[in-house]
Amino acid sequence: MTVQSQQEKSSQEKWEPKIIAFLCNWCSYAGADLAGVSRIQYPPNIRIVRVPCSGRVNPYFIIKSLTDGWDGVVVSGCHPGDCHYLTGNLVARRRFAILKELLEFFGIEPGRVNFMWASAAEGERFAMLIRKATKIVKALGPNKKFDKNW
């Protein structure tokens, strides 16, 4: 093994994905807060952006995150039927379904963008799903598809 590939291998093992997480204020953000207060450990790879509702998440946010170089995106909201604004997450669910199918069709690995529901009382569930998402994104490697090389 040459020095360069040795360095590459160890930097690959050391590489940690950067994942951006859009959490709805009323359920998922509170759920993440509960996980923190309860000292439930989950990977520190996510950077949280608080939005009022998962329905606020414009697909542009998700695609811009990918083009800016984020390795993964997580969007989390209230369970259907429990939305603070009554139907925001139902609108979001349709959007995400279509977006996910189109992203996969264009050849963007399906594991990079993940959607989930987590309520304010589900700290353990939130942590478990973030652990799962991080594992999936880490296995996919860095997001180099949208690099513009300048």
Partner: protein, 354 residues
Amino acid sequence: MDQKILMKNEIGKFYIELAEDYNFYAPVNEKGIITFKKVLNSGGIVLDYLNSKVPPKEILFPKMEVLFEYKLDGKEVEIEDRKDLNEKNIIFGIRPCDAHSFILLENFFGLGDTPDEIFLKKRQNTTLIGIGCNTPRTTCFCTSIEGHPFNKVDFDIFLVDLGEKYLLEAVSDKGRELVKKFSWLKDAKKDDLKQAERLSKEAEEAIVTKLDLSHIDKVLDPNFDHPIWKEISEICVGCGTCSFLCPTCTCFDVIDETNQYNNKGRRVRIWDTCQFCLYTLHTSGHNPRDSCIERCRNRIMHKFSYYPENYNVLGCVGCGRCVQLCPVNNDLRSIIQKINQIENKKKEAEKISA
């Protein structure tokens, strides 16, 4: 003597000697479409083509061009200018209409107190080697704008396809300097010159589209508000294909791209077109060219009235790309005929009312 013979199987040799010092751009067949690309070997060069879709203006005025890059270091900004402008280029195998377009592009980019240094520098370092059109298309009309399918005046070196060989002629001083390097080129014989003459005459006769552009600007100027513009622009959808693929259209937009995570950015210019509704949208919300009528009119007037006013030459080269590629077949030739008819129809109307 200035006229030499280049055998078709000597193109490879010609290329290898030039590629050492020059970026060599030539027509290649990419996925069934002829485009001008920088070639890395002579195998892909196609000289037996009608014309490309994207005109060779793309080589010196690309679809997207970095103007400069910058780095941020706290509050300090460091600007990096382009470093590749001194590279020498050869554009090989373009048609006389496209070569004429380079003259018009130079006029535009060189106008006034703020000439475009990036384009002009690249143009200075570029040598144009062209080829005559043995088989012009039915949509070509270079003879209507005082051009000719074998017009060599805008080239540095000019080729004529004689079948198994090319007649190679150095036209400008730059061309003569270059041809001197190729001492292995044989001199052309009288028969070769006669054949080239014959091909030139045949090509001229093959041009069937003849438009009367002798006083088009005089007809256009007083008829800015004529109702014919509504008829001309009726089916236009404002897609911009005509301007993107026109060898003389030069409008561009300037955008800034930032890579905020790495504290750097760059300023880029990209092709733009007056056919988009945002083109003349003011920040107040007012748009002087609110509909297809004004935008279509603007394009025609720009080519055939404003350009001659500024530069004393028509702003069209007669390549026929807009005719071939307009998605709704809004044929420029029919438009010119309708415009020329304005004066005739006025006179007829006067006769009837008299």
